[in-house]
Amino acid sequence: MVVRSYNDELKYLEKINDHCWRIKKGFQPNMNVEGCFYVNSRLEQLMLEELKNSCRPGAVGGFLPGVKQIANVAALPGIVGRSIGLPDIHSGYGFAIGNMAAFDMDNPLSIVSPGGVGFDINCGVRLLRTNLYEKDVQPVKEQLAQSLFDHIPVGVGSKGIIPMNARDLEEALEMGMDWSLREGYVWAEDKEHCEEYGRMLNADPAKVSMRAKKRGLPQLGTLGAGNHYAEIQVVDEIYDKWSASKMGIEEKGQVVVMIHSGSRGFGHQVATDALVQMEKAMKRDKIETNDRQLACARINSVEGQDYLKAMAAAANFAWVNRSSMTFLTRQAFAKMFNTTPDDLDMHVIYDVSHNIAKVENHMVDGKERKLLVHRKGSTRAFPPHHPLIPVDYQLTGQPVLVGGTMGTCSYVLTGTEQGMKETFGSTCHGAGRALSRAKSRRNIDYKEVLEKLEQSGIAIRVASPKLVMEEAPESYKDVTDVVDTCHAAGISKKCIKMRPIAVIKG
C-alpha cells in the first residue's frame, strides 16, 4: 500500500460542489472508476479528520478511513459509474457503511461481495402510522412502552414469542413476507408497501448452512441488540405536505411507530459462511483486491450465486422478522387502546432495506444496463413513476425511512430523479457512527445517557443498559446534517421529521 502524507493525499480529492467531493484515480491502486462522497461542511471535517489521523506515522490497526474504503471499492472488478459514499458514511468491514457500488451483470468478471452488503443482511426500517395524536399517547406512553417491551423480545440472546419449528423456518426463508401473510400475521397492504414486496424470489434455503438456521430459528420476531430499536414517534415537522398526505400523515403530532431491525444472527452467519467460501474462490479465479476484507466472488461463479441465494433467504428472514414485530406492535397498541389495529389505521407506510444487493436496471452512459447494486448502509430511493415502487407512491417517489440515533429525530424522505442519475437511486440510511463502539463505551457513562433521555421526556426500556452508551447520540453524526446534505445535493427530498416519545432497545 502507498504511504503518503496527508497533504499528498488531499491532492487526490477534489471538491466538485458544496455537497460533493471527487476521489480521483490513483488515490488507491488499481481504481477502475472514480469515487465520490456527499458531505456538508461539518461532515466534511469528520471525513478529512479521519483521513488525517490515519496518515499519522505509526497509525495501524482498526478499519481504514471511509475515503480509503470508497477508493478500494472503486478498484473492484466490474464496477460501473462511481463508488459512492453517502453523508452518513463510516468505516466498516471491507466496504464502508454508507457506501454503494454497482457492478455490471453482463461483465463476466464482475463480482459480488458480502462486505458490500454487511453482516446484518436486509437490516432495514419499517414505519407504521396510526390515527392517534400525541395527546392520546402522552399520558399512557410508559405503559405503552412497557407493553411493547413485553411483546417484542429484545437484546442479545432474546427469543421470539411466535412459535416456529424447523419446517416453518424453511418456508419462511423461501417465502419471506408471503409466509407472514399466509399465516395471518400481517395485512395484504403491508406487502404492497414493502421494498421487493417483502420477498426475494431467488432465495434458496438449501444454500444456507445448518448453523445459520439453528441460530435464526429462535430469534424470529425479536428486535436484537446494537443499533436496533422500536420507537413510538410523533410527527414533528412536515416539509412536503402533499407527499406526507399520500403516506397518510396529515398533521403534526400524529403518532407513528418505527421498527429498525434486520436478520439477527441468521444473516450474520450467512455472511460469515460466504466469506470463507469466497476466499477460496478468489484464489482460484485470481481476483485481486486492495483489502483482504473485500472478499468477493464473480457473480456467475458457484460461490457468487450461492451467496446471492443465501443472502436472499436472509433478506426474507428479515422481512418475516419485521412483519412479526409489526404484528406484535399492532397487538400491543390494540390492547392499550382497547380497539383493533384496523380502527387505529395501523398501516405500514413503507419498509426499506439498507443492507442489501439487488439486481436493478439503470442508465449508464446513456444505455440501459443490468447491474448488481450493493447498498451497505444506504437506502434505495427511486424517483416518481419508477415501476418498482408501489402504486400509491408513483407520484411522490419512493418513501425513504431514515432512522436517527436513539433519542434524536428520524426522517422520511422521498426519492428523486437526480438521485436516480447520480447515485443509482440511493441515499443515506441513518446517522452514521462518529465514534467506534469501544470508544463510546470508554467515553460516555450509561447512566448519564439514560437520564438525558428521561429529561427530554422519552420513555425508554432497555434490555442491556450497560451497552446503551454505544448508541448514545454523542457516538453518532447528527442525522439532521446527514439528511440536509442529501436534500441539498438533491439525491432525495425531505418530507417528514419525527421525534421519539418512547424507545425500546436491546
Binding site: L181, R182, G184, E192, A225, L328, P390, L395, T416
Partner: protein
C-alpha cells in the same frame, strides 16, 4: 393525427394549427373546399370566402355542413376531423388505382380494428352482427347521448361508451362513496415530465394518472385475492412462554 392528414393533403401550413381562432378554422375549411372537396361550383363558393366577416361566414358554414351531409358533431375539432376525412375520401376516389398497393391486409393490424372487433364479438357471443348498419347507428346515437367524442372507428367508440357506463352509470359506480379529502393539483407533484416541452406536460400527466388508476385497480384486486386466501390459511399464534428478553 389531424395534422398528419392535413399534411398528406398538402395543406401549406399544418405546423401551426391554431384552432383557438375561428378565422383560422374558416380558412382551413375554405382551403379544403377550394382544393379538395369542390362541393360547390367556384362562383358559389363566394359566401364561404367571407372569412373576414365571421358572422356571415358562420351561416354559410352551417349550410355547407348540411350540404356535405355531415352528422351533427360537437366540437370544432371533431367537425374539422370529419371534413378532412371527407376530403381524403374524395381524394382517394379520384384515383383509387394509385393506392392499390396499400391494401387493408397491410394496414389492418396497424389500425387495430380487428382486435377491438374481436373483443366486441366475444362479448356479444356472435349473437349480434356488429357490422350491421343499425348497430353502428345505435353506437353513434348512444355516444352522442353520453357526450363521448366521435371516433371514425365505431367499435373504439363503443369501448369508450362502455367505459363511461362502467365508471359513471353502473349500479356499483352510483353506490360508490364520493371521494373525500383535500384535492391536490396534479401538476404540482414531485414528478418531472419534461423540462423542455411544456406542451407535453399535461397529456403526459393525464396518461400517467390513467396508468396509476389501472395499476391501483390491479393492486386492489391482488390484495382482495390475498385476503380471500388468508381466510382459509391464517392462524396467527403467539406463545409468551417462549419469549426471552436478552441482556
Amino acid at each position: 393525427m389531424l395534422k398528419k392528414k392535413l399534411e398528406a393533403l398538402g395543406f401549406p401550413t399544418p405546423s401551426d394549427l391554431a384552432l383557438s381562432n375561428r378565422k383560422d378554422f374558416a380558412s382551413i375549411v375554405l382551403w379544403l373546399e377550394d382544393q379538395k372537396i369542390r362541393q360547390y361550383a367556384i362562383e358559389d363558393r363566394v359566401i364561404l370566402r367571407n372569412v373576414d366577416n365571421i358572422e356571415m361566414w358562420e351561416d354559410a358554414y352551417q349550410k355547407y355542413c348540411a350540404d356535405l351531409n355531415m352528422p351533427s358533431l360537437g366540437t370544432q375539432n371533431e367537425q374539422l376531423a370529419w371534413i378532412v376525412g371527407h376530403a381524403i375520401r374524395l381524394e382517394f376516389l379520384d384515383d383509387p388505382a394509385q393506392y392499390e398497393s396499400i391494401n387493408s391486409k397491410q394496414t389492418q393490424p396497424k389500425i387495430n380494428n380487428k382486435q377491438s372487433q374481436k373483443k366486441v364479438l366475444m362479448i356479444f357471443d356472435g349473437q349480434i352482427n356488429v357490422n350491421d348498419k343499425e348497430f353502428i347507428a345505435g353506437v353513434r346515437t348512444l355516444a352522442g347521448q353520453l357526450n363521448v367524442p366521435h371516433h371514425p372507428n365505431y367499435l373504439v367508440q363503443l369501448e369508450a361508451v362502455a367505459r363511461v357506463v362502467h365508471e359513471r352509470l353502473s349500479p356499483a359506480a352510483r353506490g360508490r362513496q364520493p371521494i373525500v379529502g383535500t384535492p391536490f393539483p396534479f401538476d404540482k407533484g414531485n414528478d418531472v415530465v419534461s423540462d423542455s416541452d411544456a406542451a407535453l406536460d399535461l397529456p403526459m400527466r393525464i396518461l400517467r394518472l390513467l396508468q396509476i388508476q389501472s395499476l391501483r385497480q390491479l393492486q386492489t384486486h391482488i390484495n382482495e385475492t390475498i385476503v380471500s386466501v388468508q381466510n382459509l390459511t391464517a392462524n396467527p399464534k403467539t406463545d409468551t412462554k417462549l419469549g426471552k428478553v436478552g441482556f
